[in-house]
């Protein structure tokens, strides 16, 4: 059967009323939680993981697809509408939307972000549909040494390219690898680093680590330096007519398409995730725009392009995740955990063993995009209300749900204790500039890397050269070198670019504050 008829069957599954409800609920909750300030996509997905425990695998994954896309989109609403003057300069793409809102064009900014996300998300999902089966077929022929090479690529790109300093990223990765070692070695049955504690003999649950780092650690980090006082949300004009003018459409459609073209490929390769894609799109739009003077003061292209790139990258990330079982971002790593919770191992074999499930998931990605655009614009009023939740209650709620998620794993109090310990570790990592995403990726991929490494060495009877002499593995290491150098170069440019940009728009920021 070719992939189109499989996809149609997927739609037949995903369009069943009960699954449609799950997709709707997933998008709603994902967006709602993603809109909450201080919560990024990784934290959204980690916090909502426990919600899916009680569902059957198909329903859970469909809900999760909705949460993933909703969470990705929700963040842009926050950065457009929340008036936090100092912060906007640190995220290059949040600037334009925020500026547009300040000059009364918030509705247009939200609309171009929503429609751009829809266009990019849908086109990128088409890309996923076309690319994934081909890649999966190819990946079936890969041996353990090849897989080990792929995982090493993921390790090094994630460790070196996420965060601000290479050694700190690699250290974070190392801690994750170490946490993955704790427990009983599956191949030989030996205990490793358990300190004789029974609670550790099954290893540390990755869900505890993900929720602990993203929810508890992040909350502690914010709590230590919380911005007190009233929450300042920029008001948005209601009503359909103010959304987008003919001029806005004319200026938006090309950035949407360019953002897609930039975002999807970058999402599929492990090169630092959506951050790089949004930055590249922003730089491109600024260069190509006929309204260069508006950049830094609310140019609609600067919202349309990066938002599309962000969503296209989000879909692109699913390609290596589904076909190779390789998560290249923290969010993808947590989705991998969701799969594993149901005994499913993403990878080439998943397409053969569970085609119905995989294609229902892909179909629900298309549906999730449609639901997103139908819901988001009319519900802007509700998202604004969410932004106004008083911070003490907001963060109390986040911690309560984090503790609930930890407890719901095994109904053991000791899990909450582990959660707190990981949370404190996460706090100090954030405080001292260590990125936490490599830790989560390392902890998930570490055991897989070890399995492939040992399989490869057993096949070669201990000959280490087997790791680099397979043609695919050798090529992979070559690509790795290119990726790392290219990525580091890009990041350097990005930082310089952001610094320049901050300097050029520094004056308008202070002017706004004084008004």
């Amino acid at each position: 059967m070719d992939s189109w008829s499989l996809l149609l069957e997927g739609f037949a599954t995903a369009l069943q009323p009960q699954y449609l409800v799950f997709a709707l609920v997933g998008v709603l909750i994902g967006t709602a939680v993603g809109v909450l300030p201080g919560i990024g996509p990784a934290m959204t997905v980690a916090l909502l993981l426990p919600l899916t425990y009680t569902l059957d695998p198909t329903a859970a994954l469909i809900t999760f697809a909705g949460i993933y896309y909703g969470g990705m989109y929700g963040g842009s609403t926050t950065s457009i509408l929340l008036n936090t003057p100092g912060e906007s300069a640190s995220i290059v793409t949040a600037i334009e939307g925020n500026k547009m809102a300040k000059i009364g064009r918030g509705a247009a900014a939200l609309a171009t972000a929503a429609i751009g996300s829809f266009v990019a998300g849908t086109l990128a999902t088409v890309g996923l549909t076309l690319l994934a089966p081909v890649l999966a077929q190819f990946a079936v022929g890969l041996g353990p040494a090849d897989y080990f090479a792929l995982i090493v690529i993921a390790f090094i790109t994630v460790g070196a390219l996420i965060g601000s300093s290479v050694p700190r990223g690699m250290l974070s990765l190392g801690v994750g690898l170490f946490l993955g070692l704790i427990g009983t070695d599956l191949l030989s049955g030996q205990q490793r680093y358990t300190l004789g504690l029974l609670a550790l003999s099954d290893g540390v649950d990755i869900v505890l680590v993900a929720v602990g780092l993203f929810a508890v650690g992040e909350t502690l980090y914010i709590a230590a330096r919380l911005r007190h006082g009233a929450v300042d949300v920029i008001p948005v004009a209601r009503g359909w007519r103010t959304w987008m003018t003919r001029e806005d459409w004319k200026r938006s459609w090309k950035p949407w398409l360019r953002g897609t073209v930039i975002g999807f490929p970058i999402g599929t390769i492990p090169a630092g995730g959506a951050d790089v894609a949004t930055f590249l799109s922003y730089a491109t739009e600024r260069k190509l725009s006929k309204h260069k003077d508006e950049f830094g003061r609310g140019a609609i292209e600067g919202v349309a392009g990066p938002e599309s790139a962000n969503n296209a990258a989000a879909a692109g990330v699913l390609v290596p995740l589904l076909t190779l079982g390789l998560p290249t971002t923290a969010t993808a790593a947590i989705i991998l955990v969701a799969f594993q919770a149901y005994g499913l191992q993403p990878g080439p074999l998943l397409f053969e063993s569970q085609p119905a499930l995989v294609w229902a998931l892909v179909a629900s990605l298309y549906l999730g995009n449609v639901i997103l655009i139908v819901l988001n614009l009319p519900l802007v009023g509700m998202w604004v209300k969410l932004l106004q939740i008083p911070r003490p209650y907001l963060y109390a709620g986040i911690l309560t749900f984090a503790a609930f998620g930890a407890y719901a794993l095994n109904f053991a109090v000791v899990d909450i204790l582990i959660l707190v310990i990981v949370g404190v570790l996460g706090y100090f990592m954030r405080r001292f500039g260590y990125p936490v995403a490599p830790l989560v990726v390392g902890m998930i991929l570490g055991p897989m890397a070890e399995e492939y490494l040992r399989k490869a060495l057993q096949l070669s009877q201990g000959d280490l050269t087997t790791l680099v002499t397979q043609p695919f593995a050798a090529a992979a290491y070559g690509v790795l070198a290119l990726l790392v150098f290219g990525g580091l170069w890009l990041r350097r440019r990005q930082r310089r670019y952001e610094q320049q940009l901050t300097e050029t728009i520094a004056v308008p920021i202070t002017a706004d504050q004084e008004v």
Binding site: P37, G38, T54, T78, L82, G86, E87, S90, S165, V166, P167, R168, M170, L171, G174, V175, L177, L181, S188, Q190, Q191, R192, Y193, L220, A223, A224, R225, L226, R227, P390, P392, Y393, Y395, A396, G397, L399, T400, A403, F404, Y407, A408, V413, L417, L419, V420, G423, Y427, F428, R430, R431, F432, G433, E450, L453, Q458, T502, E503, A506, I509, T510
Partner: protein, 181 residues
């Protein structure tokens, strides 16, 4: 604020003059180095079964090397003056100092929550956690957090415990409610 803001990094330098020797950063990096040493020492405590060619110690050695090398690189960097670059966030006040007291209260709230679950039931324990955290973060009416927390706790308990079958303990106060499911 008189001076125009010219960027996150510069503002941080103006408001928080960094000490010459970043003691806490060094201590954290040293702890990580310690973790690496612990990992490499631990390798020798792993029993290798007889006749296994690629045993359970191969990968731990690799991990230990990653830990030790990167921790050493971070230490070297910090000593050379390469300080941490911390991220900002929507709700973070870039000019605030670390509020250790609030952090201690929140941790205490979490620990109280985990100790109380089996004693007073999940929903009341959730109310304690929610209330303590809201109070620690400066909620205007200190009791409101406990009320909201109890409401959320009871709803979660009914939906997840009662209807979806997660075994959250009901506790003595809500036992009658649990009996209804």
């Amino acid at each position: 604020m008189n001076a125009p803001l010219t960027g996150a990094s510069e503002r941080a330098e103006v408001t928080r003059p960094a000490p010459r020797v970043p003691v806490s950063e060094l201590v954290f990096a040293l702890l990580m180095l310690g973790l690496g040493i612990f990992a490499i020492v631990g390798v020798f405590n792993i029993h290798i079964p007889v006749g296994v060619q690629v045993g359970p110690t191969v990968f731990p050695i690799f991990v230990s090397v990653v830990l030790l090398a990167s921790a050493a690189a971070v230490l070297y960097g910090v000593l050379r003056g390469r300080r941490a670059e911390v991220e900002e966030g929507e709700d973070i006040d870039p000019d605030a100092r670390t509020d250790w007291l609030t952090l201690a209260k929140i941790i205490a709230g979490l620990v109280a929550h985990l100790l109380l679950i089996d004693l007073i039931g999940w929903a009341p324990a959730a109310a304690v956690l929610f209330g303590v955290v809201a109070w620690a973060l400066g909620a205007k009416r200190w009791w409101l957090g406990f009320v909201i927390g109890l409401a959320i706790g009871v709803v979660v308990q009914i939906v997840f415990g009662g209807l979806l079958g997660l075994s959250l303990p009901w506790g003595p106060a809500l036992g009658w409610l649990g009996g209804m499911f």
